[in-house]
Subunit: 158 residues, 6 copies
């Protein structure tokens, strides 16, 4: 594959995301990490902060690009000339939703192929939501996020 | 991706398989359809018959190769120099099993990446087992398999 | 069956709903499409707009009635003299919730039987929520809703 | 609904089946309990014994008919002039399989509508397989099957 | 087991909770029912009211203690010297979330063991959310909660 | 808890089982590992071999007992005076079956409480069946079973 898009909200990026990025990057020439801008939803980190964190923790990955998109993924997909969208799968509930999105996106654009990767076992249950919950109460999140993200989370909640 | 393996028993190949092969072939240079030889299990079709049917119904797909393997998928994977194994996902029960196999295979060979594709909606519930059940009782299977496979099934059960 | 109720929020009605209505209507004499009024939740469309859209897209269905209800489904069920409630099933997550509601409703009223129908394959992943998301960003929703609903969605988001 | 078919292997009929039969019978004029003859599978009870047990435990249900069928359900469905097939749903794994069968049957015959009912809570986990396992080891199965079926099971395993 | 914690929001306690408490209390010397204080979420009942209701309906259970905690469960767990956390399992969607939390908690504290119990069949589908929905519309909730909780719910919604 | 039973076929014992045994042993005084003798099913290892392997790999666990049982678990449970049965949970499909068994066993004996533990993440996908499949083809199973079990598996398949 030449170009692959990894879309998400990345609020913030964690080890499960990073794992998918590293795996997917090996399978393509260019890997676009695309932060979805959702006007109706304010996250913990601003879009700029999210991009900055992704930038730093993925700097070792060859051929990765980081950007934002708003609107529909299919429109962004078309513009980039990507061949596939990549998503990580964690558990059954994930699968249901991802399956639905993959079918919907294919209906909107027949060429949009979604490929799913399984993250490493130690990352199988991670989610940004649960990590933020732990960080909010001062829990130790060092095993779940890169150090710089851990630092950013601690600052947000201090 | 340069080389991708699509392993399975293909007893026989049906539209859901074909769908995955066509989708995966677009994402790589060489697509190896690999029929698993299982000494302990006799199928409806012999390995030779399965290969023949796959050969015919995939002749329009550029860069596809058809072969058999026995033993472990990881050993076959290593020999071929493939970058990834591709599997189609249909439903939750599928996902559970596929997830387990993907984790096991990665444990056996760290480089074995499994990527999952979602088949077209009209193929989402197909399985060789259910198609054979319908064919056994003379049901109309023309919507589920390529014509030559339908003919082969009818001959088996006549 | 004489009378069957199809309750929902229908915000707005889509092809998956319509599919269930058409299938259920064949199995009963009177089919009541009942829009649940939820005082605590404002939808995209007002109750009046929802009723109007359902009215127009189901005008070809013999024996259908359209109404609203507030409060508990069991109370509404009792008043109408219905024999069963019908619901469409899409996927596992759906099933869990629907199963829970069916058991709860039966506990509240022993005679309230819930029957589940499977929508057509092309409608299996549809939901009002996902359609509204696509419409919000100007995506093409013509394959998912009747034309008049598509028009109404475009007007809401223009 | 005028005619509804409840197909199954009923080896033997248990309280969960009986529950579905009673619920479905209220929703139609004629309820056909249809024992599938599967030439490749020998059950604990012969087809004749199964029919006899069903006959006895459903004698209180108005408008029920008991019969066997072999071959495809769709062919039997067509012959009977039924409007729907009814199935009980117990749990997620059930649902997956039932969903697949419902879609396959509809593909084979567009008019074959499958409707699902939820059994009573006390029957939600029952299956003929698990009941036979318990009976085989002399466990008390009186809460799971009608008395006459319990007697028949004890005789089989004595 | 000496000390076991049963954490939850208990807004309000219902028969499914009570069932888990009774079952778990038999397996340990001290059973701590711990109401999680969630500063960001206002419930129907205040923390004080919740404690009061739990107090009354569990007064027959030997060795039970009732308290609140805020912050992370792992921190509370450490302070109490408990050996395990107990949780009730109802359905698949439950299981997914509970599984994720159990793995996360173990990652935060290796000694935190989560044990799961299955509630009685009649309580399998109960949740505080669904009970509150029914009570809000004047539905009969007497089969789902202890009498004193039913009274409290009716007062809240009168 | 005083006495807990961990029933299974253990054909052979693997790291996932061992993990559950170690976790459960901390929560009780006596931990009975009980190998189910199933007259109708021949395993890879004889009952004697299974007991021997369990014996060796659990010798470090205080208060563990190893035995066999035939017939129903409830009968064995009654004889031992155990307070609970422990089972490991791996994935959703597991959960369905385990849930069904837990409810059935409680119906057979009201006092039979089943408690579920979550194995360590590295053992989450392990099963005896999949390990035997890998071993049969000469795959490296050292990460999945204790060394002595690995040796026994290699001998069986050499």
């Amino acid at each position: 594959m030449k170009i692959v898009i990894y879309p998400g909200s990345f609020d913030p990026i964690h080890n499960g995301h990073l794992d998918v990025i590293e795996r997917a990057a090996k399978l393509c020439d260019k890997m676009i990490v695309a932060v979805a801008k959702n006007p109706g939803k304010t996250g913990l980190f601003s879009t700029g902060e999210r991009l900055g964190l992704i930038e730093e923790v993925t700097s070792h990955i060859k051929g990765r690009e980081i950007t934002t998109f708003d609107g529909l993924l299919v429109d962004f997909f078309r513009e980039t000339g990507a061949e596939a969208v990549v998503r990580g799968l964690r558990a059954v509930s994930d699968f249901e939703y991802e399956f639905q999105m993959a079918l919907m996106n294919r209906n909107l654009l027949d060429d949009l192929e979604t490929i799913f990767l399984v993250p490493s076992q130690e990352n199988i249950y991670l989610s940004s939501r649960i990590i933020k919950e732990v960080a909010r109460f001062g829990g130790d999140i060092d095993g779940f996020v890169p150090p710089i993200v851990g630092k950013a989370l601690r600052e947000k909640f201090s």
